[in-house]
């Protein structure tokens, strides 16, 4: 429940003019504005500003970027299909599985570098696939594949 104060009233008044329904009802906003001259002034100024901005248009642009873009386009599109990405992870998983078996061989000591191999491999795989392993992705889609 939004508290009815000057800030929330002015915010809601402007939002309703933009077609957005906020937490405060129109009656709450009107009742506050009827009593508070500061808010009436604030909303009037912001309305004037909104009308001024609505009356503006973007300056038409004439520039072209194609020549520069064309020079820097790769010869072929990279084919990062989902299956290919998952295949890379499957290969990595199998390798790590095998690594674990080798590691479990008794009386064999391969040294510190051998122990770093899986970490380096995982870092290399995420870098190669340009994935951020720490990104929280609740939609279970590959990074960069979500569209807006």
């Amino acid at each position: 429940m939004t508290k009815v104060d000057c800030e929330s009233v002015c915010r809601s008044a402007m939002a309703s003019e933009d077609g957005y329904v906020s937490d405060l009802s129109a009656e709450q906003v009107e009742a506050h504005l009827a009593e508070c001259s500061n808010c009436r002034t604030e909303v009037r100024q912001l309305r004037t500003l909104a009308n001024l901005l609505d009356g503006q248009k973007r300056r038409p642009r004439t520039e072209s970027v194609w020549e520069h873009v064309e020079q820097h386009l790769p010869e072929a599109l990279p084919t990062w299909s989902g299956s290919r990405v998952w295949r890379a992870f499957v290969v990595l998983g199998l390798f790590l599985f095998g690594y674990r078996f080798v590691e479990m061989i008794p009386d064999r000591h391969f040294g510190i570098l051998f122990k770093l191999v899986p970490i380096l491999l995982v870092i290399a795989a995420f870098s190669y696939l340009r994935e951020n392993p720490f990104k929280i992705n609740s939609q279970l889609t590959l990074e960069g594949s979500e569209t807006k």
Binding site: C10, D18, Q56, E63, S64, V65, L77
Partner: protein, 192 residues
């Protein structure tokens, strides 16, 4: 009347889908059509974030190159530009973070706003100057809302934040702009 961004071009979603399919098959000419169709809109959006034409051109160029490399990830059932805008926005803010200060154009002409018959050129210049003095996020939000006419829902999707956040941010951005205009003695905001 708010200008809708959809009216900026006649190109339909179907045209974009066909062009993207051709791009994926290696047709760079098809990508040229996409670039040439959206570049003007993209430059306008980039200037609102970066504050000057030169940086905006760099960001747009880089964004189109990123876009080409990511074309196989585009969802063909959705409109192209909102997807591209996320790439462009990332590029702009990356570039902005490399610049310590937001550099404004030194030109005598406006970069964001078109001269309007109903408004004095000096007033348009003053308004744009005040907009460019705002933080980049404020200027971006105000231009998307008022010049492109995006709804709160569209803004929320475009900027990846909830609609309530859009309401709050837009309110504060307008207040900051109003205060800047008052300081510049802009007609209608100075005396109150």
């Amino acid at each position: 009347m708010i200008a809708r961004e959809d009216t900026l071009g006649e190109r339909s979603m179907m045209d974009d889908q066909a062009a993207i399919e051709r791009c994926k098959a290696g047709d760079k000419e098809a990508f040229r059509h996409i670039v040439e169709h959206y570049q003007r809109e993209a430059i306008g959006h980039a200037i609102a974030i970066l504050g000057n034409r030169e940086d905006a051109m760099d960001a747009v160029q880089e964004a189109f190159i990123d876009c080409f490399q990511a074309l196989d990830r585009v969802d063909l059932t959705r409109r192209f530009y909102p997807w591209f805008y996320v790439i462009l926005r990332n590029r702009c803010y990356k570039l902005a973070s490399r610049r310590n200060k937001r550099e404004m154009s030194s030109s005598d002409e406006t970069e964001i706003l078109a001269p309007a018959a109903s408004v004095q050129p000096e007033e348009t210049m003053l308004l744009e100057h005040a907009m460019l003095e705002l933080p980049a996020e404020d200027c971006e939000l105000i231009t998307l809302r008022h010049l492109d006419g995006l709804s709160y829902q569209e803004l929320a999707e475009r900027l990846e934040v909830p609609q309530g956040t859009i309401m709050s941010r837009l309110h504060h951005a307008r207040k900051r702009l109003r205060d800047k205009l008052a300081r510049l003695s802009f007609n209608g905001f100075s005396g109150d």
